[in-house]
């Protein structure tokens, strides 16, 4: 079978996902276009060089609606014969784009793809595309729908993570992100976002607070306690699903959950022949991919079965993996991952993660694959596994290996 290789990976800096965020003025199209152009320029692609652009996005409404992938291709310098496919697997959209691309290449359906995603959370609010899963009684009630924050707190309750545990993890994410930027570890991938005249708008992740300490975090009120315990009482819904739980321990807040940001990322995936044709050196092989559906109420435990599945597909064991990227949607998600596989924090999220730098939903999957690749190269290690938890109870994972 044909192998699928990563030839390049780029990402935007992440802007605060608010009206005063630096990228708030940049449209989803403009942000994504600069990723596509960067890939084209850095690899010297020309004409109908790739089969498709697979573009992840979790809120396909307004400017992110109407097949944003095609729109972004049209706005970019790519050839119009490259079509564009918008996909949505919520937080794993960016990863799913890469995995789909890899599997298309492996199956011989095209030699190369650009895969990635975008999310301008300051411009298109999370959930503004509607979601039957939360309000259609035939699904919401039957699947015991609760918001993600409650799910994260259920994980903490079920698997025994205290407020101190989740806060410590968050603090370490901030510290690591600070070190990573100090040491310019993202240098290879970061594309400065510019205006229509080429003037720079943002060249660094602006959400981080590297000096965050336990005291600051300890002062934050649990964000999901009220909606859980009083109105409308999601804890009760959770207890209907998990009748062994006496109460939900509400530990998560803005400081130990992923940040709301604007951002985008793209990865160039192709076959060996594609690289030879353009004189490109493959950086890594995409060894295996996986996706899985999981219990939708606790919702965010997907990384564990997704990892089991991707390891099986790769014919590997957890000990064979040198570095991990587990998306920091909420602290408890990553703590659960480390607990389930007995993975040491020193091998995981070595540059910090979404708690410090933010989680642009549709882009994050591609971002963490890019970070994993950069870190494997920087540390001279060989194999890496990236995984994310996904809304509505899903998970996705990718194993890459340097070549």
């Amino acid at each position: 079978m044909t192998e699928a290789y990563i030839y390049d990976a780029v990402r935007s800096p992440r802007g605060k996902g608010r009206k005063d965020g630096s990228l708030h003025e940049v449209t989803s199209v403009a942000l994504g276009k600069q990723m596509l152009n960067a890939i084209k320029d850095r690899s010297g692609l020309d004409g109908h060089a790739v089969e498709d652009v697979i573009w992840g996005n979790a809120t396909q409404a307004f400017e992110q609606g109407g097949c944003l992938a095609r729109t972004t291709v049209l706005a970019s310098e790519l050839d119009e014969r490259i079509p564009g496919l918008s996909i949505n697997r919520f937080c794993a959209s960016g990863m799913e784009a890469v995995n789909l691309a890899a599997n298309q290449v492996k199956g011989g359906a095209g030699e190369a793809y650009i895969a990635g995603g975008v999310e301008c959370m300051s411009r298109v609010a999370m959930g503004s595309d509607g979601a039957a899963v939360a309000i259609d009684p035939t699904v919401a009630m039957e699947s015991y729908f609760v918001p993600q924050g409650i799910s994260a707190d259920i994980i903490a309750t079920e698997y025994g993570f205290s407020r101190d545990d989740v806060d410590s993890f968050a603090m370490e994410s901030q510290r690591r992100a600070g070190v990573a930027w100090e040491e310019n570890r993202f240098e290879k991938s970061i594309i400065t976002i510019r205006d229509v005249n080429g003037l720079p708008i943002l060249d660094h992740d602006e959400y981080m607070r590297p000096g965050t300490d336990m005291q600051t975090l300890g002062g934050l009120k649990p964000a999901f306690k009220d909606m859980g315990e009083t109105m409308p009482g999601f804890d009760k819904v959770a207890m209907l699903k998990y009748p062994h739980l006496e109460a939900i321990n509400h530990v998560h807040h803005a400081g130990n959950s992923s940040g709301i940001v604007d951002g985008s990322a793209a990865i160039l995936v192709g076959s060996k022949e594609f690289g030879e044709k353009y004189g490109l050196k493959p950086r890594a092989r995409i060894r295996a991919t996986a996706k899985i559906g999981t219990d939708p109420t606790i919702m965010l435990t997907g990384p564990v079965p997704a990892t089991e599945r991707v390891l099986k597909a790769a014919g590997m064991e957890i000990g064979d993996i040198d570095l991990f990227e587990v998306n920091e949607a909420f602290s408890s998600v990553v703590l659960r991952f480390m607990q389930a596989f007995d993975v040491d924090h020193s091998k995981l999220n070595t540059c910090g993660g979404a708690i410090a730098m933010g989680h642009p939903l549709g882009a994050s999957g591609a971002i963490i694959i890019g970070t994993l690749l950069d870190e494997l190269e920087r540390t001279g290690k060989s194999t890496g596994l990236a995984t994310l938890c996904v809304a509505s109870g899903m998970g996705a994972a990718t194993v890459i290996e340097l070549v």
Partner: protein
């Protein structure tokens, strides 16, 4: 005979009067619906008619749908229900559109409703389809949609129209909690339009003056927006998220009707009005076809009423109680005095000291004071009720009583002495009842010189709240005593069941195994949280451990000791685990809520704060916790097998009483319609199979009763075999 009649006035107003012959309140039949349709069609076509007023010939408007109509629909399956409901939608929609051009919205005839009094169910859904609703200023009138309480939801447009009038949030108390309003409250809530001293005159004037625009419903007009926002409007979205969660949280997910209703609301709000009615009909059909709604209607409406009306009353002259003697002014006696005096009886409340008797009477005073504060009573009523209670120590005051209820300490000796002492002063034809909850009536009757006049009247605590009264026939109890007890229960407006005398009668016989099974699981290492939650998920109002705390652990210990003594060697060996646990808690002084310590911990205010951690220290949770269904079946079968055995032993003589009594007495999963309703839903064959599994795994207390086994073999159902129709045949 006509249920609807129309009179066309010279003023151009056609008055359609609803007056079902032979009924105290109007209920809608299909014949009635046909007559209403004909009258409306006639009036709309008659050029001399300018407007229409629909009213009632009774002092109320209507009590709702004739439930036989639904039963009739149901006989023809889902299609029958759907088509039947759609025919009502067409009628009400015809009234709402009133002949107007659907495009220009012009040319319709104004139609108003006049409510002389109570308007419930279809009795409000019909008015909601008219253009303006006037009500008489009758504070006793109740206006609302109580359907959800019997396991269905307003299915003749009430759901769709009320939500469009008030928004999802605004309509939810009336749809989900079946909130009833008086006419002024209903106007304030925006359900009806006007309260008037002469509503008929006001309605006539209005229909003659109303313009085209006045009779177009907001949802039929251009640019209609749902109050509070439609489902995918940002605010409406949040409301819907909350509504889903709250229904789940409040009902523990156990009831089909509120879920179906919310689906009708959600799906209906995204389509035009007529399509929304069709969707409402589809979900309504779905609920009607669910066995839960049929069982709930049967037990909570039809059979409850039948029992209250004396379905099992023996032939005997009227036994209305005029003067009641209550022996013992403790909590039960005080409550019995209260409800009896409220029902208009003279009550003599006796205790050993005047102080104790006065304290019992003071209970009524405190209760009525609370009622006055809440506007439910008046100082005059309070004086009258208190005036009917004589608190005394003097047995001579019992002279002239026609019923005595004894509610003294649960000690056979004390009871025997009192029986003798009282019989010495009361009239020879007076009926003597004991409110014992545990002692056999036949034994207590031995102290009586007239055992045929001796009976058990078992109240539940608190008396003023609990709806059920269990009447127990001793071996020698005569028909007149039963009739007396039934007439008395009817006077105090509670629901009676009549059972034969066996240990713990019916209710406690079923409750105690439920409590024990819960405690037993804890002693086996099942998580107490799982035990109580499993019960709640079945729709039980209180988990077994919480219920033990409420009823007190010392009572449990006392009953266990007494039972052991009475049964001797027959006392089941598998009770040891439960007894050990209960005695241990008792020795620690953890007596339940009353000592602020039991299976649960409590704060100073008596609020439960969580399972007592000491429980897990003594009974560590097993590594492997059982599946939810296993815990649930242990809790359910513990109860329902007792109900079956009670039927086998003729303690229970009527399964309707077994079901109604279970729901009203201890809150047995109301959605199921009661223990026999639940077993019928399971099917005897599956139930027997589960018994075999439970017996093999947990012991002989789950052994399949012979009756159930036989029914499994013959593929019988309880209502098919023991229901009133089967009995009549």
């Amino acid at each position: 005979m006509a249920e609807f009649t129309m009179e066309k006035g010279a003023d151009g107003v056609a008055v359609i009067t609803w007056d079902v012959p032979g009924k105290s309140m109007n209920v809608l039949s299909m014949e009635g619906a046909g007559e209403l349709d004909a009258a409306v069609t006639d009036a709309l076509a008659d050029e001399a008619v300018k407007g229409i007023v629909i009213t009632s010939g009774k002092d109320t408007f209507a009590a709702g749908m004739d439930l036989n109509v639904l039963a009739g629909f149901k006989e023809q399956g889902a299609e029958g229900v759907f088509e039947g409901v759609m025919s009502l939608h067409h009628l009400l929609r015809k009234i709402e559109r009133a002949g107007m051009d659907p495009k220009t919205l012009k040319g319709g005839k104004p139609i108003a409703t006049v409510l002389p009094g109570t308007a419930l169910g279809i009795g409000l859904e019909l008015p909601l389809s008219t253009h303006r609703v006037f009500a008489a200023d009758n504070p006793k009138a109740k206006i609302g949609l109580p359907e959800i309480q019997v396991g269905i939801f307003p299915g003749s447009g009430g759901t769709t129209r009320l939500v469009r009038k008030l928004g999802v949030m605004g309509a939810s108390p009336f749809l989900l909690q079946a909130k009833l309003s008086d006419p002024k409250g209903a106007v304030k809530a925006g359900i009806i339009d006007e309260v008037s001293e002469d509503p008929m005159a006001a309605a006539k004037a209005w229909v003659l003056e109303a313009k085209d625009a006045d009779i177009v419903k907001p949802w039929d007009a251009k640019g209609y927006k749902l109050p509070g926002g439609a489902p995918y409007h940002p605010a409406g979205f949040q409301t819907m998220v909350g509504a889903n969660a709250m229904i789940m949280a409040n009902t523990w997910g156990a009831y089909p009707a509120p879920k179906a209703m919310l689906s009708a609301v959600y799906e209906g709000l995204m389509v035009p009005f007529d399509t929304a009615l069709k969707i409402e009909a589809r979900w309504f059909t779905n609920v009607i076809m669910n066995p839960s709604s049929g069982n709930m209607i049967r037990s909570l409406f039809i059979n409850k009423e039948a029992l209250e009306k004396g379905a099992n009353r023996p032939e005997a002259p009227d036994q209305t109680v005029k003067k009641l003697g209550v022996l013992g002014a403790g909590m039960m006696g005080a409550g019995i005095a209260l409800v009896s005096a409220q029902a208009g009886m003279d009550v003599v409340l006796i205790d050993q000291t005047q102080e104790a008797a006065d304290k019992g009477k003071a209970y009524t005073e405190a209760y009525l004071d609370k009622g006055i504060k809440r506007g439910k009573s008046t100082p005059e009523k309070k004086e009258k009720v208190l005036g009917q209670i004589t608190a005394t120590t003097d047995y001579a005051q019992l002279d002239g009583c026609d019923l005595i209820i004894e509610a003294v300490f649960e000690d056979p000796k004390v009871k025997a002495e009192i029986t003798k002492a009282v019989e010495a002063v009361i009239p020879a034809d007076c009926i003597f009842a004991s409110n014992t909850s545990t002692l056999p009536i036949t034994d207590l009757a031995k102290a009586s010189s007239r055992p045929e006049q001796f009976i058990g009247i078992h109240f539940f605590s608190p008396v003023e709240k609990m709806l059920l009264v269990e009447i127990i026939k001793g071996k020698e109890t005569g028909d007149r005593a039963v009739a007396k007890a039934l007439d008395y229960v009817r006077q105090i407006r509670k629901t009676p069941i009549v059972v034969n005398d066996e240990r713990f009668f019916y209710a406690n016989r079923c409750i105690i195994p439920y409590l024990n099974e819960g405690a037993r699981m804890v002693s086996e290492g099942v998580s107490p949280v799982l035990v109580d939650h499993a019960a709640r998920l079945l729709g039980m109002p209180v988990g077994p451990l919480q219920l033990i705390d409420e009823t007190s652990i010392d009572l449990g210990v006392k009953i266990a000791k007494a039972t052991k003594e009475a049964m001797g060697d027959a006392y089941p060996a598998d009770a040891k685990g439960v007894d050990d646990l209960m005695f241990w808690m008792f020795d620690l002084g953890r007596k339940g809520r009353k000592s602020n310590a039991g299976f649960y911990d409590y704060d100073e205010k008596g609020k439960r704060t969580g399972i007592w951690p000491g429980l897990e220290e003594k009974y560590p949770h097993a590594e492997d916790q059982p599946d939810l269904i296993e815990v649930q079946h242990r809790l359910m079968f513990a109860q329902v097998l007792e109900a079956v055995r009670a039927l086998e032993e003729n303690v229970l003589m009527d399964i309707r009483e077994g079901d109604v009594g279970a729901i009203l007495g201890w809150g047995f999963a109301p959605w199921s319609g009661g223990p026999f309703g639940w077993l019928d839903m399971l099917g005897a064959a599956y139930a027997a199979e589960r018994c075999d599994h439970l017996e093999a795994t947990y012991g002989p207390r789950f052994a399949c009763p012979a009756l159930l086994r036989e029914m499994a073999e013959k593929n019988h159902s309880f209502y098919g075999r023991f229901g009133p129709e089967a009995k009549a045949a």
